[in-house]
């Protein structure tokens, strides 16, 4: 191998290794740490949600919509629309959940009724303990 070819190859190898060894820490630096799995419960007084109304609460840093519907009782669903992440709102007159951003609608089970959402809203465990609602 000629001296110049050897030096060019050496430069290419060192250059690639240097770039790669910088790229990995950069990617790790920019990527956020994974969310720790948490199972903290959120407690809410029943009187804070009158019949036919809803409330958005933060359970383990995730917004959850809690609805008190006359027939179905208390319901807790993720309020993050599965389309593009806006928060759904409860429309009591039609008994549906509506996303204000792109018009997706869900029933109170979280199933998609219309619009672009690709998946149902995920259900969040909810228990009624005396006068308290335990969510999460």
């Amino acid at each position: 191998m000629r001296r110049r070819t050897f030096l060019q190859s050496l430069l290419a190898v060192f250059g690639t290794v240097s770039a790669a060894s910088f790229a990995y820490p950069l990617l790790r630096f920019l990527a956020p740490p994974a969310d720790a799995d948490r199972d903290k419960k959120f407690t809410l007084a029943k009187k804070d949600i009158p019949i036919g109304t809803s409330r958005v609460v933060l359970v383990n840093d995730k917004p959850v919509i809690v609805i008190y519907e006359k027939g179905k009782g208390y319901i807790a669903l993720s309020s993050v629309c599965t389309h593009l992440g806006c928060l759904v709102g409860y429309e009591a007159a039609k008994n549906i959940l509506v996303c204000p951003c792109h018009g997706g609608t869900y029933d109170l089970e979280g199933n998609v009724l219309s619009g672009p959402p690709p998946r149902p809203l995920s259900k969040v465990p909810l228990k009624v303990e005396n006068e308290q609602l335990v969510i999460g």
């Binding site: 969310d35 917004p63 593009l84 619009g115």
Partner: protein
Amino acid sequence: MNGVTKRIRNWLEVRVGLDELLRSNLTDYRVPSNINLFHTLGAVAVVGYLIQVITGICLLIYYIPHADHAFRSVQEIMTRVPYGWLFRQMHVVGSNLLIAAVFVHMVTIFLMGNYKRPRELTWISGGLLMVITLCFGFSGYLLPWTQLSYWATTVATSIPTAFPVVGDFVSRLLRGGSSVTGITLTRFFAVHVSLLPPLFVFLMVVHIALIRRIGLSATPFGRSDEEKRPLTEFRKKLHPDGYPYYPYLLQKQALMGILYFVVMFLVISFAPTFFFPEEATVPADAFKTPESIRPEWYFLAPYQMLKIIPNKFLGISLQIILLAVFIFWPFLDTHKEKNIFKRPVLRGVFIVVMIAMVILMWWGRR
């Protein structure tokens, strides 16, 4: 010329060859004799960008890029800082006008067929400049930390989730977490003020260097000699029978630059809330998506497309394909005829695309 000016000029002349520099770039640089006002739109975009840089630096002095302070600091710029309202209005109105100017520039270049060989790279660099201009608009939108900016960013940073495997990671990378928070704000601030500007300047230098190197296209319509000859070697378009750049084109560019200012100040004076809907004056609330949330006018067409296409992956993939078609158009349209009036199919496609865009924007606005 008085003595001091003459001495300064001589000082520069012997060091950098000032006379030759000015002559070769102003009077000896010839432009086509049939040049028109549409050829000045690129220069108007440069003026627009300079205004954004200057007003942006002014806003940086008072703006605080923190979720707890961003909204208040912007309100203080508008209400307490002397002439803060003026610089913020210039920055906001200017960003919209700049995007409009770049868009009209691209459309006129398209209509005149000036993306054709040998100017494919000039078109691509211009297309990328337009994309970066839109990225400026998008990243700057979050900074006031209003309801509108918060939820528009939530929607936009959810877009990558349409793609399997890497989608969630990209979305988290943009947000700095699983949702839009103060970390997203500082990321967007860093992108807006330190990543995009050098990228934009680099591409602008490449774009202008290509224009100067290849030479301005002579014919707004019809085939020029460049298109007629086989493209086997580089030949600069010199326009020996054209006009000197100064005063003919430079004065036209200056006039259009002033017109840009006039439009900007007309909007600031007579429609100061035009770019500030109600949600843009309410601080961000992560618990409530506003009832009527719409993006800026330049994102209305893609926004409405997402709304009417039922499949998220399909909707977003289609938009990426359309963007790729737009940027790489010179390689798709290899027809030698530049005159759009002699190309009924292309003319029809152009009209349909423009009408579709207007309808989508109007629909998205409702």
